[in-house]
């Protein structure tokens, strides 16, 4: 069960990192950061 917690933590990290990568790309391609 404790390993299940680690699984969720890893999955959560992946989701946050991908979401932040989308944000990074969005900010770069938005007018402010050209």
């Amino acid at each position: 069960m404790r390993r299940l917690f680690a699984d969720w933590l890893a999955l959560g990290t992946a989701v946050v990192v991908i979401a932040m990568s989308v944000l990074f790309a969005f900010l770069r391609t938005s007018s402010e950061l050209h």
Partner: protein, 441 residues
């Protein structure tokens, strides 16, 4: 989990995310290179994040006690493993997206004609893939643990080193000198984490050797190795914790092995004991260790201890050699003259292989201890429990309400999964389970 550990685990999780995302978002400060399409920028972002994740893997296995303490090493190693899969996913997706957007970039895969920055990218990606494949299928590939461990470190350094070389060589986002300096600082920080566990920590251990004081044969093809600090006071551990044992004359050996302490944590003089079962690998040589042999112990580690969870009674559930941390717990409770009830459910294949069974019987005189042996292959005339420890066995021996007790579980993975599922059936909340998976490396 105690509230101080909850707070610490939240802080460390936030810092972990910051160390992945911070260097990436720092690239958005200062001057910017020409903008590209969304998917190219997304591909660059996951490349940077994947590289930072790979670098931080050195930190997860650096045995930094103040970091791992809230979770326990087995959870951290499992997280390390899962994060390597995510990192390889990001690192592989990074070029695939670029190839889909602009198929002519596929020419970069030809290492004979590609520029150095692309060669480094290929080396990093191939090293990472090889590393993950070898980690996932080490047993199926029939790799010795020691060989795998050295290869694992070499591939990890190659993957991160070549990744950094690719990033600096491409230099698209690193035109500003401070951005280049920032990423080089992070790369040095990752290498420092590796050097800490491989060079700095062993250097300090060099001054604190142990000598093997006794090697005792136990039931169940197991050996107890007693070790005495040589010229220093040793360390104190909590019952249930473990240490990394490095055999031989140097602590700089790449491979140490984690073993639970089986002796009482209340013992004076720094003497510690580990009980090790012959599993056919290097453990088959434990019985041949000569008394007086120099060894090095790195510890204590682990969140699996009764001292972190105050309770009116303890339920210990052990399978096979998973008895070792339980033995430390019951010996410590006996030395502390602790009269709280303890129920030990102890699963084994057969009666002859029940490690410590005689001593456990004697400990009943000093403790409020109930022992339930569960045998897979009981001898003729056996009237005790047969088969495996399951929900029915737990219900027969544990006083309700089941959710009020603290449960400590240690044994083979299959057994632990079954027990955790049985406890869930009995309505025991997750916060009451405490488990240690000794097969975490």
């Amino acid at each position: 989990m105690q509230s101080r550990f909850v707070v610490r685990s939240i802080i460390w999780t936030a810092l972990y995310l910051f160390f992945i995302l911070g260097p990436m978002f720092a690239l958005l400060a200062g001057s910017h290179p020409p903008v590209r399409d969304f998917w190219t920028e997304f591909s660059a972002a996951i490349g940077y994040a994947g590289l930072a994740m790979m670098g931080l893997q050195f930190g997860l296995t650096a045995r930094l006690r103040f970091v791992t303490e809230p979770w326990g090493e087995d959870v951290i190693y499992h997280f390390h493993r899962q994060m390597s899969l995510i990192a390889v996913g990001l690192v592989v997706a990074h070029p695939i997206i670029l190839f889909v957007i602009q198929p002519e970039r596929l020419a970069l895969l030809n290492s004979f004609t590609a520029p150095w920055r692309a060669r480094f990218a290929a080396l990093s990606t191939y090293s990472l893939i090889a590393l993950v494949v070898m980690a996932l299928w080490r047993v199926k590939l029939n790799l010795r643990y020691e060989t795998w461990h050295v290869t694992h470190i070499v591939l990890a350094v190659l993957a991160v080193g070549a990744g950094v070389a690719h990033m600096v060589g491409w230099s698209f986002y690193l035109a500003d000198p401070w951005k280049r300096a920032l990423w080089i600082f992070f790369a040095l920080f990752w290498i420092a984490l590796l050097l800490y566990i491989r060079i700095i920590k062993p250097f300090f251990m060099l001054r604190k050797p142990y000598r093997v004081a006794e090697v005792r044969r136990e039931r169940g093809d197991s050996w107890t190795v007693a070790m005495q600090p040589d010229g220093h006071a040793g360390f104190r551990f909590r019952p249930g914790q473990f240490g990394w044992l490095t055999m031989g004359s140097t602590p700089f050996k790449i491979t140490g092995h984690p073993f639970s302490f089986s002796s009482s944590a209340a013992a004076d003089g720094g003497r510690v004991e580990m009980t090790i079962r012959n599993l056919g690998d290097f453990t088959s040589e434990i019985g041949d260790i000569p008394v007086g042999q120099r060894v090095y112990l790195d510890g204590p580690y682990g969140a699996f201890t009764i001292d972190r969870n105050p309770a009116d009674m303890h339920v210990l559930i052990a399978g096979g050699v998973g008895i070792t941390p339980m033995m430390s717990i019951v010996r410590t409770l006996a030395d502390r003259a602790d009269k709280r009830p303890v129920i030990l459910l102890y699963g084994n294949k057969d009666w002859d292989r029940v490690t410590f069974r005689e001593e456990l019987d004697k400990l009943k005189q000093r403790l409020n201890l109930t022992i339930v042996h569960v045998l897979e292959k009981p001898p003729a005339g056996w009237t005790g429990e047969k088969g495996f420890i399951n929900a029915a066995v737990l219900e027969r021996y544990l006083p309700p309400p089941f959710a009020d007790h603290e449960y400590y579980i240690c044994g083979p993975d299959v057994m632990m999964d079954a027990i955790e599922s049985a406890l869930s059936q009995l309505g025991v909340p997750l916060s009451k389970y405490h488990s240690e998976r000794y097969s975490f490396v």
